[in-house]
């Protein structure tokens, strides 16, 4: 009883990012091979490896399989990912033999803009030839979106990021519900934002499946650029437990670089 109270107290103080990280980590239960992005996805994967998915294998696009990072990497090619890893190969082999071959169960993506089919833009705001804001571009995102068996999307939600029409399709999601069968990947299955979690209907359309604690459907609608669908049985995201939070705060990201 006292423990439950402590949990609630801790959970009440979880930051939005911590809530997102924990929600994403729990979705990794039962998954085996995860293509890890830097920042929140890295925390989510390392949290899952300590909680719901002890055998999770971490793959980094720099060519690393079976990484055992001894510190929180700032970049995707940090030396701590290499020392003690199971295998380090060339990027050609990583992209061809792991990702394109269909060995990646789950990959994390993010974006500056997303539409209701989970298509993502990380290339440009405005016109490609005359950009208002030049974003980083694809990196490996385009091929990850196509070839990873499932894609988890982790991104902040505002009316400017959840839009009716994205300015540029960097990474295809469910297109307009017609994802071709020859693609290895099933596309985005989960979107986690600071407000809630989303899944996709059989038609490839995003719907709100779970609200984070204290968030209302109206808040979600107010931060979505289209008329978002809501699950008939809308859940409430189970808040982070004290154990999850202490792993993030004490072990994985003690400086709070990515979680506060």
């Amino acid at each position: 009883m006292a423990e439950a109270l402590t949990e609630r107290a801790a959970a009440a103080k979880a930051t939005t990012t911590e809530t997102m990280i924990v929600a994403a980590a729990r979705q990794l239960e039962g998954e085996r091979v995860c293509f890890v992005g830097i920042g929140s996805p890295n925390l989510a994967c390392n949290l899952a490896k300590r909680t719901v998915s002890l055998d999770l294998e971490l793959v980094y696009e720099a060519g690393v399989f079976g990484a055992v990072p001894a510190r929180l990497p700032l970049s995707i090619g940090d030396p701590t990912l290499v020392t003690g890893a199971a295998s380090v190969s060339s990027m050609f082999e990583l992209f061809a033999y792991y990702l394109q071959a269909g060995l990646i169960d789950v990959a994390f993506l993010s974006g500056s803009q997303i539409d209701k089919w989970g298509n993502l833009n990380t290339t440009v705001i405005g016109d490609y030839a005359n950009p208002k804001v030049r974003l980083p571009g694809s990196g490996g995102a385009c091929e990850i979106a196509i070839n990873a068996r499932k894609v988890f999307i982790l991104m902040p939600q505002t009316k400017r990021s959840f839009v009716e029409k994205i300015d540029f399709v960097t990474s295809p999601g469910h297109l307009a519900g017609k994802r071709p069968a020859e693609w290895a990947g099933a596309g985005p299955t989960i979107v986690v934002t600071g407000l809630g979690m989303y899944e996709f209907s059989d038609d490839g359309v995003m719907y709100l499946s779970s609200l984070h604690a204290g968030v209302t459907v109206e808040q979600v609608r107010g931060n979505t650029g289209w008329d978002i669908e809501v699950a008939s049985e809308l859940r409430e995201t189970h808040p982070p437990t004290a154990a999850e939070l202490s792993l993030i705060r004490e072990t994985l990201d003690p400086d709070g670089t990515y979680s506060r």
Partner: protein
């Protein structure tokens, strides 16, 4: 195979569970690291109707095809390296003796490209070969393809995705993460292209040995179904640093393979007459004396601890 982290199995178990009649099987290794021990166990278990794929069928496929395990051969160079012919295979191709053997033939780079395409899930691999050669006439799966960027033409070969790849390595851990050094052949591409993979190692080592040098890991445990520990499992092929190629055996095989009777007695004595490869190794006796090289160690490298 068991889903737990140790995949260690005996050769008998691994072949029994992983190799099925009718499978396409690739025992790869270019001169180096050819897993004769696995080939012999396939013969002992009397597997049938296999399609055998290898760049260089070598003496191991002459033995296997002579023993009747295969109905088809996919290859790029059919010979006893440095010696001459593979006679058991030639008898089947030239005279259907004792039965026909279907063949599907490429060049070396074509076979390598097929494994690369298979490992990459590409529908084809392009290469600059086959121009004006008769190989595309002999094999309709070698076709010209135009470049979308120029009026250049290249040839495409289709992906090869064996049901089973068997790769021999110097050292592996129980999860199947494997170090190879010396001639690499297309062990990596074959392993990644296959549905199921058996890693056979000279030495089973702790994870810490593999992880002390992750750039040396040619095959990750991720794609491995079984790990078999079989010292000297390549004889008469070799394992760099462990034992030499038994060139004398390759020369001797010429006369054995030429004569169906002698081939049969050889199989009876050395394969069916031994229950395991360890017995075969013992039976060789002092033949090993000339095959164990003095040491030549690599300079280590420092990966650094980043904590």
């Amino acid at each position: 195979m068991a889903a737990d982290s140790s995949k260690v199995a005996s050769m008998q178990e691994a072949i029994r569970e992983v190799v099925r009649d009718g499978d396409t099987v690739a025992i790869e290794g270019f001169t180096h690291l050819i897993c004769f021990a696995a080939g012999h166990e396939i013969i002992r278990q009397r597997k049938r109707d296999l399609t055998l794929a290898r760049m260089t069928p070598d003496v191991i496929y002459d033995q296997m095809i002579g023993a009747g395990v295969a109905s088809k051969l996919i290859f790029s160079w059919l010979g006893n390296p440095g010696v001459g012919s593979l006679h058991a295979i030639r008898r089947r191709i030239e005279r259907a003796d004792p039965e026909p053997l279907e063949i599907e033939e490429y060049s070396h780079f074509g076979m390598v490209g097929r494994y690369v395409a298979g490992a990459s899930r590409l529908p084809f691999f392009p290469l600059r070969s086959y121009y004006e050669s008769d190989l595309p006439k002999a094999n309709p799966r070698i076709v010209p393809i135009d470049s979308p960027f120029s009026d250049d033409t290249v040839y495409a070969v289709p992906p090869l995705n064996p049901n089973v790849a068997i790769v021999h390595v110097q050292r592996a851990d129980a999860r199947g993460d494997a170090h190879i050094w010396g001639v690499l052949g297309c062990q990596k591409e074959a392993a990644f292209s296959a549905e199921r993979v058996i890693v056979v190692c000279e030495e089973l080592v702790g994870e810490s040995v593999i992880r002390s040098d992750p750039n040396r890991t040619v095959i990750p445990g991720l794609v491995v179904d079984a790990v078999v520990v079989e010292p000297k499992g390549c004889h008469p092929s070799y394992a760099q640093g462990y034992y030499d190629r038994d060139n004398r055996f390759y020369v001797e095989w010429d006369a054995i393979g030429r004569d169906p009777q002698r081939l049969e007695s050889w199989l009876k004595e050395w394969v069916h007459g031994t229950a395991t490869h360890a017995e075969y190794v013992d039976k060789m006796g002092d033949r090993w004396d000339g095959l164990l090289p003095p040491e030549a160690w690599s300079e280590p490298v420092n990966y650094g601890r980043y904590e």
